[in-house]
């Protein structure tokens, strides 16, 4: 069983490394945003580098969860891979566990890269408590956003249109959140919307600010919705 999970993790990582666009948006782009924004505002505002670091990590967790899990699993169903794997003498969940763990490994690697970038570019040293918060944020955030992505992709929307909707959801969540700046200080309404949406809850974990009940709602509801939608979904032959 362990061998299968290890192989699944290895091949999922290999697949994601071979999709050049995915590598750019998961690895290079977050670092790019971090160093640019940090360079523009980091010197002027104390604490902005650590604020931005957690914000960029939150952004990356959200994008990974929404784009790298749900649509991939939906694709597995659409192209018949699930029914094919089901015939093999193993629990298909092991394959999905491998997929999830590969995303966690990839996210933790990006977190470490960002921490290194923070030190090299801004002389900022990340504390072990912050690293712990980042890792917890990765686990919780990936869980929340994966199910959110799964809900959208399995909601019966036409294939192709679901990608557009996930993009829209991602950008709304991102730009109403406190990822790059405290939005509420510029616009109270947008700040209020951002506080309801899940990214600010994850950012609270990443910044060590604790959690509130909204995180529980964002954890539970997408999971239940997905379970309901999954039973209803029918794939055309």
């Amino acid at each position: 069983m362990i061998k299968i999970i290890v192989k699944s993790i290895y091949y999922q990582l290999l697949i994601s490394l071979r999709i050049k666009q995915a590598v750019f948006f998961t690895v290079a782009f977050p670092i790019f945003l971090f160093v640019i924004f940090g360079s523009i505002w980091g010197a002027q505002h104390d604490g902005y580098v650590s604020f931005l670091l957690s914000g960029i990590i939150g952004m990356t967790i959200a994008s990974d969860g929404l784009f790298a899990i749900g649509p991939v699993i939906k694709e597995y169903y659409s192209n018949g891979l699930i029914k094919y794997l089901r015939k093999l003498p193993f629990n298909i969940l092991l394959h999905f566990i491998g997929l999830i763990i590969s995303r966690i490994i990839s996210l933790i690697f990006i977190v470490l890269l960002l921490c290194v970038a923070a030190y090299l570019m801004f002389g900022y040293i990340v504390t072990s408590l912050e690293i712990l918060n980042f890792i917890i944020g990765v686990f919780v955030g990936l869980f929340v956003f994966s199910f959110l992505g799964l809900v959208v992709t399995f909601s019966g929307i036409k294939q192709g249109a679901d990608k557009g909707i996930i993009n829209l959801i991602y950008f709304v969540i991102l730009f109403t959140s406190n990822a790059f700046y405290p939005v509420g200080e510029f616009n109270k309404l947008i700040g209020y919307i951002g506080n309801i949406l899940p990214l600010n809850q994850i950012l609270s974990i990443l910044r060590g600010d604790g959690v509130n009940y909204l995180l529980g709602i964002w954890t539970l509801i997408p999971m239940l919705l997905f379970a309901f939608l999954f039973k209803k979904v029918k794939f055309k032959r």
Partner: protein, 286 residues
């Protein structure tokens, strides 16, 4: 022992009947072909047999057990779903890990025969349909299954490689159930054939020779549809297909003479399974 039992299987989607009361058995060691034109229900039946679709009525049994277990079954789907960004050898390695086999043994045994050496470093997305099929058949065989279920296994494959692969597939008295719309292939490879048309099996599955023997004659004349000639055919059995008439005849020179009065555009051939299928569906429609 019956490796596959299909009993009164029907499958319906809303008001449309896709499969209608299908029953047959596949005995151990048999190679059984399910023949039919596109849209006849072959792939739907495969999906029902493989538990991918739940039948509206009836049941399927493997190895005479009610619970489906695919450990000793090898499967090749028509459109092979694999990870497009993995290389061929990586897919095979992953499957050998799942099946607790040694990759090196599989490589030694199958790579040359399946001509995998040339394509082992190619990405799945780069493979042609035929190459994908070869990989699919290899993956279905690596665990030495007792039963193979193949959906259009030799589509897009070279006839020479088809022959070579068939020898390996047929090895060790393996039971094989496959669908095809290649009449020649079915006649050559199958011991038993079932025709499927509009979701129904036309008659009790039989050997190819037995099906051909059940036809009105062993030769057939083919010519374009002509109302004057049709009037002459009162004592002959024939079928219409694609605006052509196909008449069964037993070296009757009078018929040839009569036909040649109206047209020189005709051909005489030995009957084959395609004629048997088309003749039976014409009768079915009537």
């Amino acid at each position: 022992m019956n490796d596959i039992i299909v009993s009164d299987v029907s499958y319906q989607v809303k008001d449309k009947i896709i499969l209608n009361n299908i029953s047959f058995t596949v005995t151990k060691g048999e190679s059984f072909a399910l023949l039919g034109e596109n849209g006849s229900g072959k792939s739907t039946l495969i999906d029902v047999i493989l538990n991918d679709l739940k039948p509206s009525k009836g049941y399927i049994k493997f190895f005479e057990k009610s619970k489906a277990c695919f450990d000793k079954v090898g499967i090749v789907y028509d459109q092979l779903p694999l990870f497009s960004m993995l290389r061929v050898f990586e897919i095979i390695k992953y499957f050998t890990t799942i099946r607790k086999l040694e990759f090196e043994n599989i490589k030694k045994k199958y790579f040359e025969i399946f001509e995998i050496n040339k394509i082992q470093k190619s990405f799945i997305k780069e493979l042609s349909q035929g190459e994908k099929k070869r990989v699919g058949i290899l993956l279905a065989l690596i665990h030495n299954p007792d039963l193979l279920i193949l959906d259009e296994p030799f589509a897009n494959l070279d006839p020479t490689i088809t022959e070579r692969l068939w020898k390996i597939i047929r090895n060790e008295n393996r039971t094989i159930f496959f669908t095809t719309h290649n009449w020649k292939e079915a006649e050559k490879l199958a011991v038993k054939i079932a025709f499927i048309y509009k979701g129904k099996v036309l008659f009790e599955p039989q050997s190819p020779q037995s099906i051909l023997n059940s036809l009105p004659a062993l030769k057939i004349i083919n010519f374009p549809k002509n109302e004057n000639i049709i009037k002459l055919l009162t004592n002959y059995q024939y079928y219409l297909h694609d605006e052509n008439i196909n008449v069964f005849f037993n070296e009757d020179s009078k018929l040839l003479k009569d036909i040649s009065q109206f047209t020189n555009n005709f051909s005489v051939q030995e009957v084959d399974l395609k004629d048997a299928y088309l003749f039976n569906i014409n009768n079915y429609k009537a």
